[in-house]
Amino acid sequence: MSAFAEPRDPIQAATEGRYKWGFETAIEMEIAPKGLNEDIIRLISAKKDEPEWLLAWRLKAFAAWRETSEPDWAKVKHPPIDYQALHYYAAPKRKPGPKSLAEVDPELLATYEKLGIPLRERAILAGVEGAGAAEVRPDIAPGVAIDAVFDSVSVATTFRETLAKAGVIFCPISEAVREHPDLVRRYLGSVVPPGDNFFAALNSAVFTDGSFVFVPKGVRCPMELSTYFRINARNTGQFERTLIIAEAGASVSYLEGCTAPQRDENQLHAAVVELVALDDATIKYSTVQNWYPGDAEGRGGIYNFVTKRGACRGARSKISWTQVETGSAITWKYPSCILQGEGSVGEFYSVAVTNHHQQADTGTKMIHLGANTKSTIIAKGISAGRSNNTYRGLVRMMPRAQGARNFTQCDSLLIGDRCGAHTVPYIESRNPSARVEHEATTSKIADDQLFYCRSRGLSQEDAVNLIVNGFCKDVLKELPMEFAVEAQKLLAVSLEGSVG
């Protein structure tokens, strides 16, 4: 009869393509010895010239980490992780600033090339002297400021001056510790306490760098802020720490994108992201996560154990998480919102794609504390190959959440009969005036949909892409332009043609 009788082999060949961004940059590294103990933490702190309070904070987190055990409730399986076999610090060696792009390490330039960073930005990123932010003309193209996290030290930060003019602080968190210690001290760990969970405690003890964003009262951040996360050195866990604060009436949109080199050994990534929104502030945090997922047999790949949480402290504040998760061997990630301020809004839009032996256990928590708080959860899971994809979420209405409202929709799509799709929502209400609605569906790509597309001349792959993109549309439309395009490409690459 038709479309579905086609042999699957060419399709599988397409899905099993090499990891497109699997390159490794050979840059001279400065690496701490393997293992984790108080001395390593002191070393990290000393390397970064940190004040005494931060060292004490790290040591406290380390003590908490030793008290807790690795969580085992997620639907993921992996061999035990030897936390003493990892390097906890790796920094690119510092060189004096190059005079022009010609003097820049060609490896680094090649990396930017593959990341698709425009030429002018490369010069700025590589720290070429004189390549200032003044060159950027937002009237031609809306500027995107990038804080490239190259392994553990932010290589450079761009557009600082443009942002500074608006009063926005956007810098590596290590620099913020030096230059804005009061701000960091006030907010660091205020959303995700050092002992919050096993991975957050680990991160708090050993985080090496990350981004710091502060948008002062009433300021609308003039450009999208962006970080490219890269895991580069062999056997270094990466422990990023990101802190974003939007003061009253401020707004900011932050993009996080990830690619990592191909390698065999599993790598651990345990980041912490904290967001704080005060009265009427808005924070939009978008992620495209495309770390190395391991090969078709499930060897290698990144372990992505991330704690992301936002606190809507002020009235009418809003925090919106959007994520497209296509990479990593294991994803353990629950970007959450604590809706404290009256009338505050939390949003979670997620697409999680798993293929081959990937495992994703991801979702969100919406904790409604304040009156008239609202939350929306749209989660789309797509499983193919032998992967397992779990949505795990919590919606909690506390007694004072008068008139609060939640809407949750979780849809799963199964491609092939060797994969699994799971939905584990927890819904708790202690306020009768709060309304909660949850719905979840699981289905496959319908034969009639495929047939319809095929009969109009679309190839099998294009038809699947079209249907999957349609399935994810509610989430993709929430992404900023820059990311939406990349996300669609990623979906196509991850899934093209893997039709069951």
């Binding site: 092939g416 799709a421 584990v424 819904i427 209400s429 569906t441």
Partner: protein, 384 residues
């Protein structure tokens, strides 16, 4: 007994399946085995008014004088045996297995429509000392057999009723199972039901939870043969400091099976309602149609509901969905009724009744339906 309880370790909230139900008040109770009641005839007034054959158990012991024999062909002996597949481990069922003394073994032969049979539990703990009862029943329907089983649990005093019912439905058999739990408000009721369905078998269950200080109804249904159908409907009406828990696990192990669940909770006072429902679809269970809806109505500011509808799916050609809603009575609907001269209390009763209707509709058998409606009316009367 208290020592035994401590040793067996009632499940704690650290167990994911017991996350929302805390059995520590039960552990603190330290009940002893329920004594035999001498004057059974005096308990006739405690029986639910329900016509037809019935099996009555008083304090876990069969009370022949209160029972009415089942129609010819239906075996209600204490015979053990039968091919019951081992079920998933459930801590309270394991405890029951160790302590069970009596129970019914009901067998309906091939092709027989056995009509309606009532299964009544009365537990009387009139002395100050709390008691426990661990009845264990086995119900087997042979191929093509049909039975409507109406189960009623009630009593007086402080006691713990921990029944286990194992049900085996042969190909094409149909069991309609109506359960009314109207235990004393000081008591504890924890029921575990295992249902095994073979090809084309059908299990239609309705559970009404009204009584007990703490109640849990846990149903494990396994659709093991192609084309089997399981409908699990439940209503719990809770007030005061009651705790009610409805837990279901529906395992689709064979292709082409369908499951439907409709669960409604009405929570008043400081009561706490729990619903946990999981649909598991195995690789082999292609063409599964699984549906689950849980809805809760919170009537008071101190009421609480925790809800965990889960899907665990390993087959791709399936249609599975669940929905959950939590909210209060719609003030607009109330206003509409009030504007037409209906007093507040009656208007609320009307809306709650309307909320329950699609779950209650699952019970078609007239006698069972009447008993059910009466129980709900009584509950509502008691609220005012």
């Amino acid at each position: 007994m208290s020592a035994t309880l401590a040793q067996t370790g009632l499940p704690s909230r650290k167990l994911e399946a017991w996350k929302y139900t805390d059995l520590r008040p039960l552990a603190a109770l330290a009940p002893a085995a329920a004594p035999e009641i001498a004057d059974i005839a005096a308990l006739a007034a405690d029986l639910p008014s329900f016509p037809g054959p019935r099996l009555v158990f008083v304090n876990g012991r069969r009370a022949a004088s209160l029972s009415v024999p089942a129609p010819a062909g239906v075996i209600t002996d204490l015979a053990t045996g039968g091919d019951f597949a081992p079920f998933a481990p459930a801590p309270l069922a394991a405890l029951n297995a160790r302590l069970a003394q009596d129970g019914a073994a009901i067998h309906v032969p091939e092709g027989l429509d056995a009509g309606t049979l009532a299964l009544v539990h009365l537990t009387i703990a009139e002395d100050a000392a709390p008691v426990f009862v661990h009845p264990r029943h086995r119900i087997a329907l042979a191929a093509g057999a049909t039975l409507t089983l109406v189960e009623y649990a009630g009593g007086r005093g402080v006691y713990w009723q921990n029944p286990v019912i194992e049900i085996m439905l042969a190909p094409g058999a149909t069991l309609r199972h109506v359960r009314i739990q109207a235990e004393d408000r000081e008591s504890f009721h924890t029921a575990t039901i295992f249902v095994d369905l073979l090809a084309g078998a059908r299990y239609d269950a309705f559970t009404l939870g009204l009584g007990a200080r703490l109640a849990r109804s846990e149903c494990h249904a396994r659709l093991g043969g192609a084309g089997a159908i399981a409908h699990l409907a439940a209503v719990q009406l809770l007030r005061g400091a009651q705790h009610g828990d409805i837990t279901t696990v529906v395992a689709h192990d064979a292709p082409g099976c369908a499951s439907r669940q409709t669960v409604k909770s009405v929570v008043d006072g400081r009561a706490h309602a729990v619903f946990q429902g999981r649909i598991e679809v195995a690789r082999a269970a292609q063409k599964t149609d699984g549906y689950q809806m849980s809805q809760a109505l919170l009537l008071s500011p101190d009421a609480e509901i925790d809800c965990k509808p889960e899907l665990e799916i390993f087959a791709d050609d399936v249609k599975c969905s669940h929905g959950a809603t939590i909210g209060a009575l719609d003030p607009e609907q109330l206003f509409y009724l009030r504007a037409r001269g209906i007093p507040e209390a009656a208007a609320r009763a009307m809306l709650v009744r309307a909320f329950l209707i699609d779950a209650i509709e699952a019970v078609s058998e007239a006698g069972a339906r009447a008993l059910l409606e009466r129980a709900i009316d009584d509950w509502w009367e008691g609220a005012r």
